[in-house]
Each structure stands twice: as C-alpha cells, then as structure tokens.
Assembly symmetry: D3
Homo-oligomer: 278 residues x 6
C-alpha cells in the first residue's frame, strides 16, 4: 500500500522560468529514459517477483522512490512554465518569449495542460506502457533495470549540460546521483545471485539439450567486404565457462529456399495465385 508526504523528496527551485527547458524536461518524465518508465517497470517487476523476497522489496521500494522523482520533475516543469504568455497581445509584447512558446516549446503546455507537466516526452509523444520490461526472469529484469538507469543518467547529464539555471542544475545533480546508485543497486542484486557469470546464458534454467550448442559460441561476420573485427568476442573462453569463442566470416546459408507454393481457394488471393485443388 502506498502513502504520501506533501513535501518533495528533494528541493526543486527554478531561478528563471524557461518554457523551452520545460519542454526538454518532459523527456525525463515521459521519455523512454524517464521516470514513469522506471517507476512502473520496478512496480510491475515487484508484483510478479518470484523467488527471493528481498528482491521484491527492493523493487517495490525503489518504484516508490521513482514516483517521487516524477513528482519533482512535474513540479520543475510547472515552475519553468510560470509566466509563459497565453495571449497574442502578451506574446508580441515580448518577442523572445513568443518565439520560445511557438518555436522551441511544446504548444500543448499552452493548449492542453494549462502550463503544467504532461506524461509525454520532449516531442510531445505520450509514454506508452509497452516500455515496462518485466519478464519474470530476475537476471533479465536486473539487466533491463541497469540499462534503464544508464540511459536515465545519460539523459540527466545532457539536461544538466544544456541548462544554466542554478536551481535546475542542483536538482539534476540529485537525479544524476540517484541514477548512479540505482545502476549499482541492480548490479548488486546480480552479485547476490552469484555474479553475472553464474547467471549466463539467461535464462540459466534452459536445459542444454534445448540448445543447438554448436551455434552458441561463434561470431557471425555477415560483412562481405571486411574481415570480422578482432576482439574478445571472437577468441578466448566464453563468459559462462562452457566453451571458446570463434569467428565465422561471410557465412553461407544452411537452409532451404523459402517458397510457399500456391494460395488456397477462398483465401482472398488473385486467381493467378490460386491452386484450385488446394
């Protein structure tokens, strides 16, 4: 069950409202690298967590923290939209801001939300819940989580670089810090599960006889005009300890030509495609 404090997790200040930056901040709310995504991803992983209950608790607890991050970002967007023009008279009086609203800002902050945050990215595209990755496999999910925190920290760093507002820089430095920790946190779960090697290949519960293992350890170089690049992927022991890496250059097809023959009658094809005996 969830509870709420009326105060924010961390102070959010905007020194000088900027509707353009409001538009950019939306990426951190409703972008695929954003906070709705991690909040919901950890929440759904928690609700489906089977096995070690500590991991379920970690997931739910961190989902809860990420909800607090959405809340702070939503406040930051609204503060950046304070003072944006809402009428033509006002806008033409201060040209640069008009350009901001119409040019570099999200028109729906004016037209749809009444100068507040929306669950969309910086292009105004709504967040789509298909981005909640939760497989029921703990190792796959932990990697998905490290990935999400990595792209989240990349985004927060890019936003930090873009703004020169001290309030926003302070707030973003907090988000960068938490993304640092959450990368570590999910890697720590993998360590608790025995380390990455012990969990490979994912899922490690697939029996070996379900796998055509002669195809499991070579790099397939499909490039016709270059040799395979040299590197660890083509030589040395595999990370799961089961084999050695090798390389296949310019591989030839091993399968058949994929023809389907004629279509069935009554299948809606053209007459020329149909075999009446079918």
């Amino acid at each position: 069950m969830f509870h709420h404090s009326a105060k924010l997790q961390y102070p959010v200040k905007v020194d000088k409202p900027n509707p353009e930056f409001a538009m950019l901040l939306q990426q951190a709310i409703g972008g695929i690298e954003g906070e709705i995504r991690v909040a919901m991803q950890y929440f759904f992983q928690a609700m489906g967590a089977r096995g070690d209950d500590r991991i379920r608790d970690l997931l739910m607890s961190t989902a809860t923290e990420e909800l607090s991050h959405i809340e702070m970002l939503g406040h930051a967007v609204a503060l950046n939209l304070e003072g944006a023009p809402v009428s033509y008279q006002e806008a033409t009086a201060k040209d640069p801001i008009m350009n901001a609203i119409l040019g570099g800002a999200n028109p729906r902050h004016l037209l749809s939300s009444g100068l507040s945050a929306m669950p969309v990215n910086s292009n105004g595209v709504p967040f789509d819940m298909s981005h909640i990755y939760a497989t029921g496999n703990v190792a796959a999910d932990m990697l998905a989580n490290v990935t999400a925190e990595a792209s989240g920290r990349v985004l927060a760093s890019r936003l930090y670089n873009w703004t020169d507002d001290h309030g926003m820089k302070d707030f973003l430095s907090f988000l960068i810090a938490r993304d640092t920790y959450h990368q570590q946190q999910w890697l720590a779960v993998i360590e608790e599960l025995g380390g990455l090697g012990a969990n490979l290949p994912i899922p490690n519960s697939t029996p070996e006889d379900h796998e055509a293992m002669q195809h499991s350890y070579y790099y397939l170089n499909t490039l016709l005009d270059k040799e395979a690049p040299k590197g660890r992927w083509g030589e040395g022991p595999s990370f799961d300890g089961r084999s050695q890496f090798s390389v296949r250059n310019q591989p030839a097809p091993e399968g058949q030509e994929a023809t389907l023959g004629m279509a069935k009658e009554k299948s809606g094809a053209q007459k020329d495609q149909i075999d009446p005996s079918k």
Copy 2:
C-alpha cells in the same frame, strides 16, 4: 549496403501445421523481445556509432544476422498456417481447427495477411519503433543489447517448451543458441572497453561536480513497515570504486511542499483558480 541470399540461414521445417503456434511465434517477430527489435536496434546503434569502428562493424553485422532471423520466423509462421480453414463450411467440418482459428489463433492471419506473418506480437499489437534503444553511449547501448538478447532467449525457451513439433523445436534450438552467443558478444564489447567497473557510472564522462555525490551510494528504503532487506546493495564498496554502500530507512522528505499558487488570467482555468493580478 545490404545483400540477400534466397536461401534461409538455417533450415525451417514444420512437421504439423498449427495456427495456434503461428500466433505464438508472432511474439518472436513483432514482440518487444523479438527479432525486428534487435535487428533495428543494432542497425540504428551502428548508424550512430562514434568511437571504436570495430563496434560499429559488430553492430551492423549482427543487425544483418537478425534480419535473417526475422526471415526464418516469417517462414515458420506461414508454414504453420498452411491448411488453416478459410470458410465456414470447411471449418465446421473439422471442429478442432475452427476453434483454433477463432479461439486460440490470430484472426488477422485469416482476415488481413492471407495466412502469413505480420509485424505484430502474439496479441496482434504492431511493433512500435520506439523500442529501438540507441543512446549514442556505447556502454548504455551494450547493456540494452544484452538485455534484449536475455529476454529474447527467455521467449525462445518458453516457445520451445510449448511446442511438441520436432521441426519447430530444432529451429528454436538454433535461435536459443544464437541468443546465447549474442549475450556473450555484447558483454565482450564491455570487456574490450575495460570491463563493467571502468564504465560505471554510465555515462562515465559526467564530471563529478555535476553529481550530488552525497546521494550516490545509499539504498533508500521507502517501506514504512519493514527494514531494508540486507544485501550487497547496502554494504561494501561500490562497484565503481568511489565509495561505500549504505542504507537509509524510512527517509523523510528534504524538499518543500509543491504548491503553485493561482492560475494566470486567460489561461483557460476556472474563475476560482485565477488571480486577476497575474
């Protein structure tokens, strides 16, 4: 530039066509764990790859292999749909198949595609290209790729468990094997980049003074009725070697209450919300 052989990468045989399994296989084509996703993800990462050119070549070469996997799966779907009923007379004559088509199968295999594969998942939801994750940060992208191959191998294993068709089991064992390797391949890139530790936190190019580091290494336990679960995430050195992990239980908010005051005139709010002086 791309080229094509008319033959498939690996033989695809179906012993007994099964329209229900055709529907399930769609997840491996147009699902978020599927082959369109990895083909396009590696392709777009390759087109944006900056830095070591070997990694660009790996990405493009593997994107090309994944296109060949889509091709095999598309053939597998069409073969499973051979012989499905297309008219009422036919269907009522053989009840179990009618139930299959209408109940356990995708009706659009009959109505829209003329008994062949579509770029949709097993619910019939079309693949959406927002799932192509390509950040321009090589470490974030490699983790996204290991994640994609992990969920792909989970899916292929589940499909293997579900079918009892020998042709399909053989084909899926090949996909399972390639997913094994591709997990290893992207981890090998991280090793070539100095190992995961050297790449943390991602992005490792963010200056430390952009980060509120006092918030970078503690686990925040937002659960009110339980202590933080004990584990590596709460103690010991951080994986990037910069600090030690710790725990904060039941944290209190540090920020302000997030109030916005009154709305602007002409902003489309109700009269009660508006401060006429604003």
Copy 3:
C-alpha cells in the same frame, strides 16, 4: 514524496486460479477504465493544480490510493495465473486449461511476463498515457474524474458478474465501493466550487464577447427524416441561467463552399493541380 507498506490495502484472495479471469482483470489495470489511468490522472492533475490547495491535496492523496489498487490487481492477476501450464506435455494432459491458455487467455502472460500482471488491457494492448486528462481547468478535470470513476465502476461490476470466485468477488466488492466514493468525492469538489451551475459553461472565465452567443443555446437537429426528439435540451432555461433552450431542425449551411484553388509550384503536387503563377 511517496512511501510504501509491504502489506496490501485490502486482502486479495483467489480460491481457484483461473488464467481466463487473469486476462479479464487486466482491463482493470491497463484499460482506459482502469487503475493506472486514474492513478496517473490524479497525479498529473495534482502536479498542475493551481488555486485552492485543498484540491491539490485531495488529488495527490487519491492518486496514492489508486496506486494501491494497481498493486492489489497485479497480485490478483498473478494469483489467477498460478498453476497455468507452461509446457505442451502439461497442457495436453489437462485439456481444459490448455484451451484456456491458448484460447481464452492472454498468451503474453505465458510468453512475456512469466505468469504475472502487465500494464495492458484485456486485449493485450498497452496502456497509453495520452489517456491522462489534465487540463489545468479544475471543473473540466473534476468531470473527467467522475467520468473515470463511473466507467471504472461499470467495469468492476461487469467483472463481478463474470466471476464466481469468492475471493475475487470480495475483492471486487471493495473496488466497487471505492469507485462509489470517488464519484462522490469529485462531485463534492464541484459543490465546494459553488455547484455545477456556477461553473458553467466551462471554462467560466471565457469573456462573453469571445462567444457567438446567438449559437449557444439551440439544439441542432441534423437528422433529415425525423423531427428533433423532444426533451429538456430543447426547451426551458439553460443551466447557467443565461438563456432559454430552443431547437433548429434540418439546418442549412451558413458558410461558403470550401474550395482551395490551385496548388503552389514546388509543393509536390501533380502538374494538373499546379498554378505556375503561384
């Protein structure tokens, strides 16, 4: 800032797991009538709330409760999926359940989520955040909220009618009750704002000279073969006290024919469409 208790808001029990009902319950999680929608709608409305701070607190507090409803539903889905078959051998051994999984159940509960809840509706379509309605106008938002709770209670009632599981009926009777209250709660906000009449037309801050009021109070009957249906919409005083309702039958157009003339050169049209002088 959000917090969490590990215990659920209300007990969730399933007497007899039923993968078909798991699929139906998804509508209450990721459907447009579902709990993600109301949780996020109230959350975003709260973050943009201007004016009376009590309403902001109501919105945030209720958003928090709705998150707890998602959590209970997610648990209910997972409990209903306990024991679902994951392999062919198992499935063919108990035919009715196999039919359930392949026919009346969501295949992604098997293939994608590992037998747990997903943020999708009962067709497997992911929830899309464009359904979060938050306009910055408190009256429009309160009506949107009553509407959401009305369709939510319709859904919960239909689910109640469908199942005969005592645990599920008990849980749904709780959701039905909370939907009853939340309808009342948002209507109570309108009463606090002076009642619906005082808030019409929404937005009530639009000056009358922005409105062609001669067109504001007639019912336009565009039906060619029937008179306008008789009722309150065509007679009596308007609810905002500004005018009387009337009816216009089979109205004629008042505007011009909408022709655009020729296309511009270099606009990508066909030669026949282009006026070279333009």
Copy 4:
C-alpha cells in the same frame, strides 16, 4: 445514413495566413480535446445506444454536427498554410516565415500533407481511436460527453486568446458557442434521466450486495504529514442519499503481504527462482 452539403456550417475566413496558427489549430482537429474525438465518440455511443431512442437520435445528430466542425477546421488549417514557403530560395528571402515553418510550425504540413490539415494534434501525434469513450452505460457516457465538451471549450478559448486574426476569432467564437450548448445538452439528458442524484452511483443497476458498502463513503487521506483537507467530501450526506461522508486519516493496510513464492519449472525464470517441485 449520412448526407453532405458542399457549403460549410459557418463561414471560415482567414485574414492573414499563419502557418504557426495552422499548427496550433491541429489540436482542435486531432487532439484529445478535438472534433474527431467528439464526432466519433457520439457516433459510436449512438450505434450502441440501448434504452430511450431519443438519446440515440441526439447522439447521432450531434455526431453529424461535429463532423461539420472537423470540416471547418480542416479548411481553416489549409487557409492558414496558403503562402507558406516550400523551397529554400523562397524561405531565405523572407526569413520570419522560414523560421515559422521550421521552428514554430509542423514540418509535416510541408513534407507530408502538401499544406493541408492532418488528423494529428499540435505535436503532430496522430489521433488514436482508443479515446472514443462509449461504455453502454448512458450516465457514464453523458458525463464523458460533458467532459469532452468542457475540455473542447477550454481549448477553443485558449486558441481564441492566442490569435489576433479577425476571421479566426469569429470562427472560434462560433465553436465556443456550440461547446457551450453541447455541455448543456448532455446535462439535459441527465436531467431527463431523473437528475444526477438518481443516477448515482454509476452504474445504478449494481445490486448493493455486490458492494462492500462499509468502504463506500469515507475519504481516505493517504498523506502522512497533513490532516485531510476539510470540505464537503468528508462530511454531510452522500449525494445518492444512502449514507454520510466521513474521513480516515493515515490509514493502515488491511491486507496481507503480497508474496508469490517460487517460480514454476519451465517458466523461463532463473534457476535461483525455481522450485523444482512446482
């Protein structure tokens, strides 16, 4: 059956074409507050209307009027795009318009539609028919319709405030007027059904024993650091006449901890998650 007059419902004039305003107007066509939405919502509600046939006629007749609104807006967009530059030479010759097209305008008006309207919102996001709300419950649907007209009039008022084009202001004042009436019209239906009170809780056909009524009339204050805001939602008789409102502050969970135990074999989980006996 539908019919058409070549003339518009109301005159649409543009004094000075403005590609930026064309982009903003798209919100009224393809936005969730726009005319495609109401036209299609009333159309689908009409096709599913059961009960009083007068309501079906109202719905279909008004759907027809809203189609005429789309038509006028589509013409308004095309007129605003007249004279927009389509080539670099032309654009650089008149800088401000080039900035308009590239900065504050929708590039697809140039690239995709050949300077005419599209079924998208002001961010260029296509309208998605999931926004057609039609539940089969007349009270829920009428509230959805008042809501849609409320957000529609908020939008039209914001557009009116933004433009200084006399033609556009005249046209928008007509849309504002019709939105006024349509709010009233759907409220009049509720009055004909006995008034809002008689229709609560929606659906009013749910038997009381399907509802845990001890949970139907209290406000749940999930805020930890504030008392519940005082207001009508927490005291006085309920609007359906069945009970009295009350308040529960800082509620404790009543349910169990939501643990799922171990995963099944062959479910695609990691070994550590699996209970081999399951």
Copy 5:
C-alpha cells in the same frame, strides 16, 4: 456540412447472433482495411484538395458514403452481440457460448462497450489516424484510394467466406459491390487526369534535373545466389515513355564506408568514445 437520415443505407439483418463474428467484423470497422480508414482518408483528402474541384466533390461525397458504411457495420456488430452472456451463471449454463465470449470473442465487447461496436480491429487494437494517407498529390492519393478499396474488398470477401448467416452474407455482398465500384471510381479519376502513364513518375512536376536519371530505370538484383527474375520490369520501354528498363545483378556499393569518428565532449557518450578536442 453533414446531415443524417435515421435509416441505414442498406438493410442489415442478422439471422443468428454470433459474438465471434462480431469480433471478426470489427476488422471492417477499425482495421487498416476498414471503413473508418476510407471515410477519414477521403475526408482529409477532400479538405486538402487543390486543382480540379470535381475531384474534391467526389472525395467528400464518397467520404460521406463510407460514414454510412461504418454505421451499418456498427449495427451489425451490436446485433451479433445480442444475447451474449454477461454473467458466470448464464455462461456456464450454455457452454459453447461461454467459450465463444472468452475464447473466440473480444472480451472488451463484454467489459468495455456493453455489447456494442468499438473503433478497434479484430485484435482489439484501436484504429490510429496515422493511416489516413493524404499527400496533396492527386495521383498519389488516387492510388492510395484504389489500394484501400482493394484491401477492403479482400477483407469483405474473406468475411463473406467465413460466415454462413444469410443476413450477414447479404450485407457483405453489398459492401463487396460498393468496393468494386470505388476501385473503379478512383481509377476513373486517373483516366480523367490523362491516364496513369501521363502521371508517371509521381509527382510528375519534379523537374528532370532533380533526378539522377541514370538510376531511374534499372532493376537492382541484390540477391547473391540467383539471377534477376526475368520479366517486364527488366526489359522494354518504361511506362512513362522516357527510357528502357534494364537489370543490374549483384551490384557493388558505390558509396563510402559510413564512419562518424569520435563523439563530442558533453554529448553523454562514454569517455572512450570522446575526442576531447571536438
């Protein structure tokens, strides 16, 4: 401006309600081959039509007819859902229908729409307005329209084959007939424009010096293991009368290797990717 008759364009009867067929019919409403698509496509093309006004009138008039087709299909879906079970008791009493609802039918017909039509396809995926193709180029649009009517008639024929309900067969034979005519109608427009040859290549207003015409008339056979298939595409005069077709087998790349070099500082890349001088 639009008008409406309360009667349908053509009689719609259902002899024996069938919820499974209701689900299939949804493809003709909200599928990409369906009637919402053509109605809206012709409507938007009409609103943007520049050039010959007769074509605008054709487009708007036919858009209007297609709206009437949606209306008939919506009625057909509702009639097919009459008598579907809405409660468990009812369903278990007549097993085959319960299987229909849960297995071969759309659960949202029960849960969301109250047994009536929705703007979704046969998988329950909502129609998305990005499928409205309207380019401002009359030849491209006419081809898009023939295409839409072709796939529409394929769909109607498949539905006809599937059902054995006399009412439905009669209704579908009407839709098949109108799709026949509309294919012809849009081809007749091309004939009025001088025939297909005169309109090639589309757009025929592109100056020849904007085109690398040495690449305009050869078939590129990218297959490595087969010669180009022989046919009209590889020999004979081009259909626009400008050249002769030819074939290039197994073409070699003409461009450069696509490398991007190092990333910029502060671009969010990993250190290894960054050139500090950039």
Copy 6:
C-alpha cells in the same frame, strides 16, 4: 539470408551540417512515406508471397535495397547533426544554432540519440509497423507498393526543394531516381499478371454471386446541394468490362432505422436502460 557491405550504396555527403535538415530527413526514415516502411513492407510481402516465385524474389531483392536506403539516410542525419551544440555555453555563444536546436530541430537528437538518426518521423513520432501493408493478394499488394513509392517520391522532391546543400541534393536526386524506378517496377508486375483490367475487381477470385452486382457500378452522390460532378466515373464502360457506369444523385436510405431496444440485466447499463425480462 542477409549480408552486408560496409560501404554505402551511393555516396552521402553533407557540405554544411544543418540540424534542422536532420529533423526533416527523419520523415524519409521513419515517416509513413519513408524507407523503413517500404523495406519492411516488401520484406513481409515476400515472406507471405504465394504464386509466381519471381514476384517473391523481386519483393525480397527490393526490400534489401530499401534497407540500404535507410542506412544512407541514417548517415545523412548523423552528418547533419555534426557540430550541433550540446551545452548552454556553446549554444549561447552562437545564437542561430541554438535556435535551430531548440526551435527547428528535434530535441531528442540531442537528448536521446546523441546526435544520430532515430526510427521516428519529422515530428518525432516513432514508426509503427501497422503501416506494413501485406494482404496476401498480389494485386492489392502491388498497388500498395506503387502508392508507397509515389508518396516516397513526393517526399524526396519536397526535401530536395527545401535544402540548398549540394551533397544533400545529389543524394536526394538518387533517391528520387530509385523511387521512379520502383513505381515502374511494381506496375510491371501488374502487367505481367495480365494488366490492371484483368485483375479488377480486386480480388478477382471473388465469385460474382458473392456480390450484389446491382450496386457495383454507380457513383453515389451524397451531396445535397450539388449535382454529381460529370466525368468518366459516371459514364462509359467499367474498367473490368462487366458493366456501364451510372450515377445516383441524392440517394435515399434503403435500410431500416437502427434501434437496439433495451439493455440486458447485469450488462452494466443504467436502470433506465434495462429490460428486466431480457
């Protein structure tokens, strides 16, 4: 099976990087007129091709070429983004570029992709695979392909007109040329199938007794205030040789009024809508 050359199909040069043009070029990658669409459309049509195997080979070979077009466009986007500012200091130092990035450019090129191409259109909306049209009917598919190439060439021509970069103009003239050929190529397939007339109506395999042929050859003029426009669509022989065209002005409905009666008990309707005997 697919293969790759590291070199591009055709040289791609950018004389002067322009982030605004990068944004416009995205339409040719991820727009509905773009290269992902044709590549995937031909690929899926090939995988489902039944009948003449030459057509399957054409489809797969051309799908392969289109993949090479995506690759060139992706490189063009990245080259246009070279040198775009990534920090506030840099941006304010060169005002016009800052305006470009924030105003006329895609913010996600900065925030999400690290200055490289994404699978989105020029509004930043991701490509959605529902746009892959593949019906299993060869004539419908060929028309869909000509249509796709027509809108593709319209787009390339508009992009050519917009830019004044010599490198980009050269590259676009190549794409324009290939779009010319591909229009011809798919028309050549129709010629090989006997010409368009022999293939009408599509599907030409529908038996005549499935069609209410009395409705197959008249133009229905639903306009109330204008006669039908005169033209080939209303007179002369039909293109399939089966009949003569005619016109019906201001048609009257032939069907019944579409009423549904009362709702079922337990269907979630309001009491007023329910017939308790149902």
